[in-house]
Amino acid sequence: MAKNKTVATANPTKPTAGQPVASKPAKSTKEDRTYDAIVVGGGHNGLVNAAYLAKAGLRTLVLERRHIVGGAAITEELRPGFSFTTFSYALSLFRPDIVAELDLVRHGFMPLLMPSTFCPMENGDYLLLGPDHGANLQEIARHSRRDADAYNRFEHDLGKVLQAFKPLMDNPAPNLFSDDPDETLALAELAGRVKALPKDVLHNALRLLTGSAADFLDDYFESEILKAFMASSATVGTKVGPRSAGSGLVLLFLSLGEHDGAMGTWSFHKGGNGGFTQVLARAARTLGADIRLEAPVSSVITSGGRATGVALEDGTEFYAPVVVSSLDPRRTFTELVDPRELPTDLVDAIRRYRFQGVSSKVNFALSGLPQYPALPGRDDHYRGFVNIAPSVDYVERAFDEAKYGWYSTRPYLDTCIQSVVDPDMAPPGQHVMSCFTQYTPYELRGSDWDAERDHLGANVQATLESFFPGFGDLVLQREVVTPLDIERVAGLSEGNIYHGELFLPQLFSFRPAPGYADHRTPIEGYYQCGSGTHPGGCVTGAPGKLAAQRILGDRARARRDV
């Protein structure tokens, strides 16, 4: 039982009122281990879900396998004074409504502006975008005068599509296969919204949903570095190259967020994304949720086709009429429950569901800032993403290797030196650097990640060295997080950062499976709230909230029916 104690988590940002710190004694009687709702997994969606359930008055328990909450959104001090964002590293798609409804500012929510985006080029030049729109157009014109106003057209066209798609992030996906009049109505409303779209907006949406990012961008730009910057971001976390169908959708999806209303922009949360999930944990606790750490759930207990609780790996059982899995669909449907209890079409769909993670993280502790030869003595280009993707060809070639079961010799890197914006993440003058790395397919042909881990780290470091001569001399520590590590540590199947690919057949009314996108499961009382449910991956909080709304709606309906 000692393993299941509630442990007060370290607070990397600032002390906030309302965070209980005292450990509660392990519960023993069955009554003590009975709740209104149990959430399996303390990642951001599990915490959001629990917070909403607790806010509605449900006695809610979160069971987290590890010693910290946050799932794949954690910050760890791997070296004294250096805070590493082990996995997830920036914020954009988190739903603003949740910030308000859970009163997150009171608990320390603090997204920090990233004022720049820096894209080094192989010839030593660069593209440096900043917070001044006019200055950005001049910088783009330095690479192509034509692209300066094309950039305005692109932002406007994309903005119109984003405006049309945003409501999908905050509302349930209609069930296309249900006779429920509510679902029919929801579908009719959706059809009405689609029909109301201007011709060009609908057409652009279709091109993005079905086509490649490179094709879409070619319609606007001729500058290679500008296209490469946008096309590379359109592959993040996904087994597509910039010229693959499907990358347009990723471009669209990853632009659906905002920072203080600015569409498609990202921020660093204070203390990294681990600082952010600590905020969620404080909010959930303040609203009354219990969070138990080092409490790995082995299975959901079912009785007569309905969920009645969960069993931990050590055999301890907790009971509740509502059990919510925030784990990915494979774990939700094939590990926590016996798939033989489930309809065959669901099990088949989950078996077909693509994970195939292709991303890794390489994190560095640095003794100083890297130097870019064309910008000597400056550091204002390090206040946001540093995007290592000098051309579309570069990214496509990096992808080529992944198609054949190997990792990129020259990887695409989405890096950031977060300590420039948040100096609390490293000692004065020293830095932490997060390098999202692609492509690194989960399944390697003829080797495995335990054998290749160091070589991947060396690859990434050598790539950085080629753009920032002397980079290696700054490295104090290097952490390599392969897809296998993401799976082992954060529990994401095959290391897919989104709980499954953001492919069109795995989104919206089809996420995670056709007819099972309403956050319920065929087992009564068993719900799903992870990123493998609508609207999908990234730190959005939306699956957690939508699932909570579904649960609360079902409870209200059940009470009415009694």
């Binding site: 917070p131 405006q163 204070k270 100096p423």
Partner: protein, 401 residues
Amino acid sequence: MPIRRTPFHERTAALNETGLWSHWSGHLAVERYQLSEKAEYVSVRNAAGLFDVSPLFKYWFSGRGAERFLAGVMARDPRGLRPGEAHYALWCDDRGFLIEDGVLLRHSEQEFVLTAAEPNLAYFEDLVGPRDRVVIEDVSPEWAVLALQGPRSRGLLTGLDERIGRLAYFGHGPATIGGHEVNVSRTGFTGDLGYEIWCRAEGALDVWDAVWAATRGNGVVPFGLQALYMTRIEAGLLLLDVDFANSRFAWTDADRATPIELGLGWALRDVPTTDRAFIGRDALRGKMRDGSSRFRTTGIVVDRTDWRRHHDAAGLVPEFDHRAVHGEQYLYDDAGEQLGYVTSFMYSPVLQQHIGIARVPVSLAAPGNRLFLEYPVSHRYVHLAATTARLPHFNPQRKTA
């Protein structure tokens, strides 16, 4: 006649990447150093920022009768100040309307220094009576003032002189920075943990250089007026000619306001009982007694859902503009009757809300009262749901800890 430059100009000009300058009290003052004032603001709230406060007017009061003189002029009693202490000071006319506010620092039994936004030397000198033993000097150009504001300010300045680390909120004292004897006060206009370094103009660049060197690698940047305005609205700190007018130069009483109406009553606790005769005492006492204030100054917060809803309905992407709006906007009840008005407004990135400083009927001044803000959305005014809120909007523990 060229506009004046502050003693730090050589440094601030070199750092001003935007070329944007304002004129503040006849001095060049940086609007923003970087392309983004929001980035400067984030640095102040998350690390620390440097701000050149030199254009403030500074008056040196000395002599055996300095305390007695100030006690007769200032609405807030300065007699409680000990050497090494400072407080927020305000002075009123004989009808109890606010003239100006500033910070009053006591240096010794017989020496005080007062900051002011506007010239006040003649006003103060004309109040000196034949029996007053006070000398008033305008020391504005002789003293340069450099503010370091934000959570890292204490640690960084303590590294320069450990005495600074012992200063209490609104305390001040001597320190040595850049080889010069300076005075450091734990004061500022950002509502955050912060300090102001008072140095002789001749030593200003040395002081700047020492502070600059000590703050490298800590995320400290210089910040301009635009970021300052953002922080001061969050801090609920009133700005002359924005949130109140100098009663000496206001055309009508509608433009004048008493400290009580401005929410500054906390500085006047002794007024009902004091035997201290000061300008405006009887008028203020009367207003306190009969409750004849016309309005109260309070915070307002705009409902986020309503903000998004109105923009969505108009087909617009809701904007969250952090820039300070210094201008009136009007507040209504649900029947469309005007209740009051907002004098300062912004979207606060730290609070994730649109906030304002507003004047509302006394009956609505308590936090949580509902009213509506008139705001233009898509070329027409809509009424956005808002609630009254306590000032300051942002009040971190570190400010006074």
